[in-house]
Symmetry: C2
Subunit: 309 residues, 2 copies
């Protein structure tokens, strides 16, 4: 454990990979490892990249990896992949394209499966980021392929969240409906050379102008990119740096991270309460009583009151 | 309370609306009401309707309402609307179009906001369905506008889940990535008169054929509709009835509902454990210690172990 810890702190790729597997599989010692690494976290800037399917998130992520590498930064990447239960991870095709960047020194790329979007909420993404953070990364990119809970998880660990849209993903009102407005710090209109891009960018800007300004929170920018041509990536990174500096200067970064920490502790406590509560006896009781409840001889609320005493 | 209960059981629209507001706002008496109604639930068939933004879910829902009404069924509709925090429900435009159907006798339509997709998970949708169920509805349609957690919630209360796609929503592989394959019992390719629809339908069918059959679970069908022309709706309803009869005959419906009940009890218990645990003293303790943890003098895991004893 001590050996693994020091190897991670020195940036050893194999040690990092091993440690992420530990937290992904929740092996008993992973908590001990996280405790040891925790004091060394906080230096990496965490960037979430999300948006509807097909918007080109992987492409934008790849462009950012390349740019960050060219500027001499140490980069970690976590790609959250909701694996379909009957393909079991075979859909990682997008990630394969990353292997070119993955071979580069100073870049660590890792896919994490959600193992079925119902329930398996990929809750250890934050922990994987903690490991990368402690290993000396300057930037951590967290990309979610797809939509759903993983988006919310991203917003709970990222310092800045980028929402990637395309002209085809429908007008910006749809983006609002999908709740993306709530989590976006930057909007990226990718494939901006296509028809209709400008119209959607201006609609989006108009909607954002209607938003009441939040104290200390910078205006949400809408940027245009053409990922496959590497266009607009430099501007995107400038905006990220601008936000980062702004959050650091105003002390907002500390607040954001404290909020994330608060949420994390609530989750850890909930998890522990749940595990402690449902001992063998209680599980057996529920298994016995559930038929009665299903047959309406009792009801779930009365049962809950009884079993929680 | 007794008066409200009997009014709901008799199908009184105002009583139903009031009761849904009670559970939506979690007023203290709502649990008592749900307990009283519970024995009378189980008759309504619950149909979830979901899919990416812009696929035409509202249109399909409206068509189904009309068809069910024409066939003499009692219909309840819950539309889950993720409200953006800065528009506060103003995006209910889609619902307005429903008012025509809403005026019809034997149809009850209600929008429920998610109040910010982060955290506010619209957890009382199931309870609203219970109220409609007890009030004597034959079918309950639960529509989610948008994507995210609400989709997962739907799958946890619906007997059958319909995923609506459009040719524009990208190829079917994207749908798999988005985790929609996991929750779909029926796929509907809406706007099927557009270019590319047939190609996507066959890709989707091919992928579904690769799926290993689940015992007692019928094959997932892919149906084509043109919602605005009311085309394919009769076929969709036939398939729903086919699935319903099948689930009833094989006893699978009982199993599905028992699984939902199990999940519901776990949620209720979790909620109660959380509320009981975080008393004023513990909240104060966390508020005091969080700065130390943020400054790395302690860590979230050690703190959690300490506070949960």
């Amino acid at each position: 454990m001590e050996d693994l810890t020091s190897k991670i702190l020195s940036g050893d790729k194999r040690a990092i990979a091993k440690a992420i597997s530990y937290v992904e599989n929740e092996i008993p010692h992973s908590t001990e490892l996280l405790k040891r690494l925790y004091a060394r976290t906080g230096k990496a800037y965490r960037i979430g990249i999300t948006g509807p399917p097909g918007a080109g998130k992987s492409t934008i992520t790849n462009c950012l990896i390349k740019l960050l590498f060219d500027k001499g930064y140490n980069v970690g990447v976590i790609a959250v992949d909701p694996t379909s239960p009957f393909t079991g991870g075979a859909l990682l095709g997008d990630r394969v394209r990353m292997s070119e960047s993955g071979m580069l020194k100073n870049v660590f790329i890792r896919s994490m499966a959600t193992r079925g979007s119902l329930g398996g909420l990929c809750k250890n993404v934050t922990e994987a980021c903690d490991i990368l953070d402690a290993s000396g990364k300057d930037f951590i990119l967290i990309e979610t392929v797809g939509v759903g809970q993983s988006e919310l998880d991203i917003a709970q660990t990222a310092d800045t969240t980028i929402v990637v849209l395309v002209p085809e993903s429908g007008d910006s009102v749809q983006a609002m409906k999908a709740g993306l407005m709530e989590i976006a710090d930057i909007f990226v209109m990718n494939k901006a050379d296509r028809d209709g891009a400008d119209r959607i960018v201006s609609t989006l800007k108009n909607i954002l102008h209607l938003k009441e300004p939040v104290e200390n929170k910078p205006e949400i920018k809408v940027l245009k990119t053409v990922g496959i041509k590497n266009e607009g990536i430099e501007e995107l990174f400038s905006e990220i740096l601008h936000l980062k500096n702004n959050l650091e200067k105003t002390g907002m970064l500390k607040n954001i991270r404290k909020e994330h920490l608060h949420r994390k502790i609530l989750d850890l406590v909930n998890n522990r309460l749940h595990l402690t509560f449902w001992d063998e006896e209680k599980k057996r009781d529920l298994a016995e009583k559930i038929d009665e409840i299903a047959e309406k001889k009792s009801d779930p609320w009365t049962y809950t009151e009884k079993i929680t005493g």
